[in-house]
């Protein structure tokens, strides 16, 4: 388990995403319209699509390749498709906006 400081909320647009490499793992950090920051592995369980590039709707993201919907809180793929994406713990310092990611 490694806890890392990975930049600031101001670096991610609302309803947007940024990626980051941790060892050989690519992680997508999302910032929802309510300001919440969530992290999942940047890889759709279907055909490996880059989730960071999908449309963010509420706390779900639509994979850009075949429109699978993934819940960013739980990593669960939404019906009628099935599967799960690994999620990672994120903390945001409310005072500074610093993002801490635990992998």
């Amino acid at each position: 388990m490694t806890k890392m400081h990975v930049g600031n909320v101001s670096e991610i647009d609302l309803k947007g995403s940024r990626t980051l490499k941790v060892r050989d793992l690519e992680i997508a950090l999302f910032r929802l319209s309510n300001g919440e920051v969530l992290a999942v592995e940047n890889k759709c369980p279907h055909k490996g699509g880059t989730l960071s590039e999908g449309i963010v709707c509420g706390d779900k993201v639509h994979c850009p390749l075949h429109d699978w919907r993934i819940d960013l809180h739980t990593g669960k793929v939404q019906e009628p498709d099935t599967g799960c994406v690994p999620t990672f713990e994120v903390e945001v310092d409310p005072a500074t906006g610093a993002i801490y990611l635990t992998v």
């Binding site: 490694t2 609302l14 950090l29 699509g49 880059t50 639509h62 019906e79 009628p80 801490y100």
Partner: protein
């Protein structure tokens, strides 16, 4: 339930029949068995039928997996791939693999399938001699086609023709060798066979009929095939597709009764208690089947038996065949060879390429052959299976004039279909199973039916039928529940646009709030739609919401299957210069671009680019975006025209460049393609474009609503004008009228058909109207900027292309 108390079920053979039975069993009795599966191939369960489609280029190898490794894991199934079972100890109930793995069983299923029958010819062991049976064969064919030219397929049956079709697609020169006088003689009668041969010859296939193969010649690799009559055929690759043989060796040496296949009764039981056989390796009432539908029926019976569910047992199948991937529609079912005591009705239309034959005995339909028009195949097949009297209906059935109820609509046809009729041949899903998914499973979309039953999940050929069934069984529900533009609303496109105008709604969020969306932030369908409608309605004040645009439009590049992107700069009218080409080449070299390709629209595509390199490449290119990724003007294709061409009546290049400069960057409901041809020879293919211009002596024809893609459609002639200015005026008016009236993601081809050409002609007939539309399109265009330039010079936008690189570890455990 504790796992160890479960009975042990072992399946030998990880193919379609065996795994299908397991799937069925898991549905009926999910916690009864501890399941172990052995497969000889190094893959999870895949769809062997789809190998033809893989070769024919419609499908990727990765797409034909039916159950991926995840599925086995999720169902606690122990899977050994690459293991061949060498022995069964029926006394102690243990199987043993060639790699030394032992597994005990209470119940054992043999689903060992078939082996391709390899003709024992001298030289059959040479390099370049293969069968057409599994993924490996497919891979060899693809590899061979890269460096060799001549392929010979031995066997003119269903499998041979599909292999040959695939090899043609791979660019090889293909000859089909067949021992008898007629191809596919086991499924077709002579007339249909000859028609099929003509059709395939027209596609480039060659045939060597009544040829008996004698020997395969060559040194290390095959060079040619020698026939009994002394003639030879050159070959760099020989594919044997003469038939399959049930794979019974394991059963034989384990003391299980074997005839042609492993002998089973109606409950798929062999002579040894606790040992069953299904699929191509099994022989039931003297028949070993080689088609998928019977195997699925057997699997269903066995699953019921193992789950302790009542079953009538398996009573054999009437089979039907369809030839896939050759672009020819062929169907045959039942006994088509006119057995004793039967009579045949025939219909042949040489010009239309249609042939039909019905075989009737005692007023019952017992067989049918259809060629060129197989729409009635499913219905005829269900009549063959039901054995009902067709007295008085023969002529109507033959001519496809079904009785009133049935001919009135495709829905009635589906209604008339028997419940056990297989709708999806790839996954063996019956009409009954789909009906159940809709009526009791609550499926309300093709997507849900696919997820629930797998119907239409493979080749997709049965999708229209699945849609029809959905309409049939959920029709009333669908009528009651008004379909909105997506699942977030019940409002249609026109209602939404009208409300936005009426209430002057100015943002996506506002529209969703005011119009009571049931998803607070919408979905990937409505968000981009609303963004488009707002931009179209309020061009000067609406700020485009980039987070509501689809991926391609947010990154201004086309996302590819591996997550890389492609870059297509604008090349106006397809005209470039040495300096421009040099620049593109230098950029491609500097960034190590893996693939540089000409597009279909007369431009250059740089493919395989990492997201973070996109802005750098745009900067170096310093060319405008070609918008190859967006719902906007793509390209204006031109022919050489009067500049050089001896036939050119007008300067099509200049006209094309002018149109492209006029409309580039325009937001449209769907992609828009233009073309300008300099004479009626139409070398720029303007008549399959959204707006096509064809020069004639002294004027220009303007064509609209063409499409060369999914929904192929030739254009309709809108009008003929005299000057270049008029061309621009009409193009502006047409495009703006389309922008204001079409639904998001609706191409002009479908839009023109939906609203009718006349309504468009009427809207554009007054010059005053056209000028007003032209003014509005100019306003819309005036606020656009080049997206690449904008991103290159804007840090805030540019950051989204780069990964976060500033990270520091706070603490580390373990």
């Amino acid at each position: 339930m504790i796992k160890s108390s479960r009975k042990k079920l072992v399946l030998v053979g990880n193919g379609m029949a065996g795994v299908r039975a397991i799937e069925h069993l898991l549905k009926l009795a999910p916690d009864t068995y501890e399941i172990t599966i052995f497969g000889a191939e190094p893959h999870p369960n895949y769809n062997r039928i789809m190998l033809s489609s893989v070769l024919a280029g419609g499908t990727d190898l990765s797409e034909i997996v039916i159950n991926d490794y995840e599925w086995y894991k999720n169902h606690n199934i122990t899977l050994y791939t690459g293991h061949k079972i060498e022995s069964i100890d029926t006394e102690n109930k243990v199987v043993r693999s060639d790699l030394g793995v032992e597994a005990a069983y209470d119940e054992l299923i043999l689903a060992t399938g078939s082996d391709p029958f390899m003709l024992p010819l001298p030289g059959a062991d040479k390099e370049g001699v293969i069968a057409f049976r599994d993924i490996k064969d497919c891979q060899i064919m693809m590899e061979t086609a890269k460096s060799y030219k001549k392929a010979v397929v031995i066997g003119g049956g269903l499998l041979g023709l599909e292999a040959a079709r695939g090899l043609l697609h791979l660019g090889m020169d293909v000859s089909v060798v067949h021992i008898s006088e007629y191809i596919m003689e086991r499924q077709l009668d002579r007339e249909a066979s000859v028609m099929l041969q003509k059709e395939l010859e027209a596609q480039g296939m060659k045939f060597l009929l009544t040829k008996q193969s004698e020997a395969i010649l060559g040194k290390k690799r095959v060079k040619s095939l020698l026939f009994a009559d002394g003639s030879t055929a050159e070959a760099d690759l020989i594919v044997m597709a003469v038939g399959i043989r049930p794979n019974t060796a394991l059963a034989k040496k384990s003391g299980i009764t074997v005839n042609r296949g492993i002998v089973v009764n109606d409950y798929m039981e062999t002579n040894i208690p606790g040992v069953y056989a299904i699929g191509e390796c099994a022989e039931h009432r003297g028949i070993a089947y080689g088609l998928v539908a019977p195997l699925y029926e057997q699997g269903a019976v066995l699953a019921k038996k193992l789950a302790g569910v009542e079953t009538q047992g398996y009573e054999g199948s009437v089979t039907s065949t369809k030839l896939k991937v050759s672009g020819v529609d062929v169907f045959s079912g039942g006994q088509y060879e006119e057995p004793a005591g039967s009579r045949a009705l025939r219909y042949q239309d040489e010009i239309g390429g249609v042939y039909k034959k019905l075989v009737i005995r005692e007023d019952k339909l017992i067989g049918a052959v259809l060629f060129g028009d197989t729409a009635d195949g499913a219905q005829l097949f269900s009549l063959i299976k039901s054995g009902e009297s067709i007295q008085g209906k023969e002529r109507a059935l033959l001519l496809g004039l079904l009785d009133d109820a049935v001919k009135s609509s495709p829905t009635a046809r589906l209604e008339a279909m028997a419940d056990d009729e297989i709708i999806c041949g790839c996954n063996g899903v019956s009409k009954g199973a789909i009906a159940e998914a809709i009526t009791s499973g609550g499926c309300t979309s093709v997507g849900q039916i696919k997820a629930c039953t797998k119907a239409s999940a493979s080749c997709g050929g049965c999708k229209p039928l699945v849609e029809g069934l959905l309409e049939l069984y959920a029709g009333d529900a669908a009528v009651k529940v008004k379909e909105g533009i997506c699942g977030c609303t019940t409002l249609s496109r026109d209602e939404i646009v009208a409300e936005i105008k009426r209430m002057e709604l100015k943002s996506v969020k506002e529209v969703m709030n005011v119009l009571e969306w049931n998803n607070e932030e919408g979905c990937s369908k409505c968000r981009p739609s609303l963004n488009y409608y707002l931009g179209m309605l309020w061009p000067e004040e609406y700020v485009d919401e980039k987070e509501s645009r689809i991926t391609n439009e947010r990154f201004h590049a086309n996302i590819q299957k591996d997550g890389t992107y492609s870059v297509v700069p604008r090349i106006y009218g397809g005209v470039t210069s040495p300096a421009e080409l040099k620049k593109i080449a230098e950029v491609a070299e500097k960034f190590d671009v893996p693939l540089v390709k000409f597009t279909g629209g007369q431009r250059l595509d740089l493919l395989g680019i990492k997201k973070e390199d996109l802005p750098k490449i745009w900067e170096e290119l310093d060319m405008p975006s070609g918008h190859a990724y967006g719902k906007t003007l793509r390209t204006v294709k031109t022919c050489v025209g009067s500049t050089f061409c001896r036939f050119g009546t007008q300067d099509s290049i200049a006209m094309g460049i002018r149109l492209e400069k006029e409309f580039e960057r325009l937001n449209t409901p769907a992609k828009v393609k233009l073309a300008v041809s300099g004479c009626p020879r139409n070398c720029a293919e303007a008549t399959i474009k959204d707006f096509g211009v064809v020069a004639i002596d002294g004027g220009w024809e303007l064509h609209v609503g063409g499409n060369g893609g999914v929904h192929v459609r030739a254009t309709d002639l809108l009008c003929v004008v005299k000057t270049e200015d008029e061309v621009v005026e009409w193009a502006s008016a047409f495009l703006q009228y389309y922008r204001e009236n079409a639904g998001w993601n609706e191409r002009t081809s479908t839009w023109v058909e939906r609203v009718g050409l006349d309504s468009i002609k009427k809207a554009l007939e007054e010059r005053e109207e056209r000028l007003a539309l032209q003014e509005r399109i100019q306003t819309a265009l005036s606020v656009t900027t080049d997206p690449w330039k904008e991103i290159v010079s804007n840090k805030k936008l540019r950051k989204n292309f780069e990964p976060i690189s500033r990270t520091e570890t706070v603490y580390q455990e373990g």
